[in-house]
Subunit: 216 residues, 2 copies
DNA sequence: AGGGACTGACTGAATGTTCAGTCTAGGAAC
DNA sequence: GTTCCTAGACTGAACATTCAGTCAGTCCCT
């Protein structure tokens, strides 16, 4: 038995280890600049083994992105399930996009920029994004319908609202990810919540559990 | 004398010709996959000449992006100058983002995806984006103030509105650029105008000059 | 003649992928 | 219990290609 950095474990663990390593490197160097050798080094193995698990570099990176998006989404929905009101869950959705560093996988927003630009040319990445966006909009839409059924929200077209809100969140994420001096996470959150409450016609007070920027 | 595709002309013309060629290639292959040889071929010259004009590949691509953004912005503002009402000018702003193909430089929205992802790592590109966004938000903000002075628009914080609208436009541009089946240009335009009119409190009727999708 | 525009032929480094094996665990045969 | 065998995990060393950037020199205009 040889002692590696990690006990190596099963093949599935190895795969996941490599996916995480790939995400680390993508966050640091960007999708296009990520080399197999980097991923291998980060995972404590050789480039050959990386190719052994994922046939090509493209496949590795595409799977890594899917992995990241899935765990980001799952983490969020798990957190949402613990919230009582539809308004609170909607606030959580907005917070997920505005405060990415609060998540287990930090720097998901930087990853999105690469996801979008790669989706333009790589069909594999495009389908990841497509499914991800669809799921995301469906989540918002279902949440609106639930809130309307409860009488929390006013009447708006749920599908239209979902498209608009997700676009707004994407746009704000860009500014946050790129560190725009005018649009930091706190302001993005506030502006977004203002839009949401205005559209759906409800008042929102911070649940005092999650830290929210004080009044300006 | 050998006949090239173009008579070559002055050095400045050559530069611009190369910048245009670079934009063509970036649109086709993406920023990261763009090779000097591609640009040279498209411009009808040799790779060596491209390096002769732009010292490095980075410089070529960065300048190309700046060139594209500038001409997109200038084209838009020129068109806006011909519009009487603030509401009409605001509609033009929204249209600029939603119908990029109508512009001289098509496919500017695909370029944005690369711009954002490259801005995350390349300081040169980052500053292009930074200045571009600032100018864009200032334009919106000034327009809102003008409309308020004319009594066309209701009272909203111009700066907040500019941040929100520009983010919304960015987000919708992503969907349009990537050909999302749920969000085409017409729907994006309609949703965006609904947001704008709702926030600023004015009615908007298509000026009948620019083609706008008829009612559903 | 001289200088700027321009080129073909190179080079050197980077890097994805292949390949020919090595090592280990575990099961079957005896 | 020992031996043999196999499949899968894993590796070091190469291979093949791609591509940015260099250079020595040519052509043309003034």
């Amino acid at each position: 038995m040889k002692e590696q950095a990690e006990p190596a474990g099963t093949a599935d663990q190895r795969r996941e280890q490599m996916l995480r390593a790939a995400l680390d490197v993508i966050a640091e160097r960007g999708y296009a600049e990520t080399r197999i050798a980097d991923v291998a080094e980060r995972a404590g193995t050789s480039p050959a083994l990386v190719i052994y698990y994922f046939k090509t570099k493209d496949q590795l990176l595409t799977e890594a992105i899917r992995y990241s998006e899935d765990s980001w989404y799952e983490g969020g929905t798990a957190r949402m399930a613990a919230i009582e009101t539809a308004a609170g869950r909607l606030a959580e959705i907005v917070a997920m996009s505005c405060f990415p560093e609060a998540d287990a996988d930090r720097s998901s927003s930087l990853l999105w920029l690469d996801l979008w630009s790669q989706a333009a040319r790589h069909p594999g990445v495009a389908s990841v994004r497509q499914k991800f966006d669809e799921r995301w909009r469906d989540t918002i839409s279902a949440l609106v319908l639930a809130g309307q059924a409860d009488g929390e929200f006013g009447p708006v077209d749920a599908a239209d609202f979902a498209v608009t809100l997700s676009a707004l969140l994407d746009g704000l994420s860009i500014q946050i990810a790129l560190g725009d001096p005018v649009v930091d996470a706190a302001r993005a959150f506030e502006l977004c919540m203002r839009f949401v409450t205005g559209q759906l016609g409800f008042e929102w007070e911070p649940p005092a559990r999650r830290q929210v920027p004080g009044p300006g």
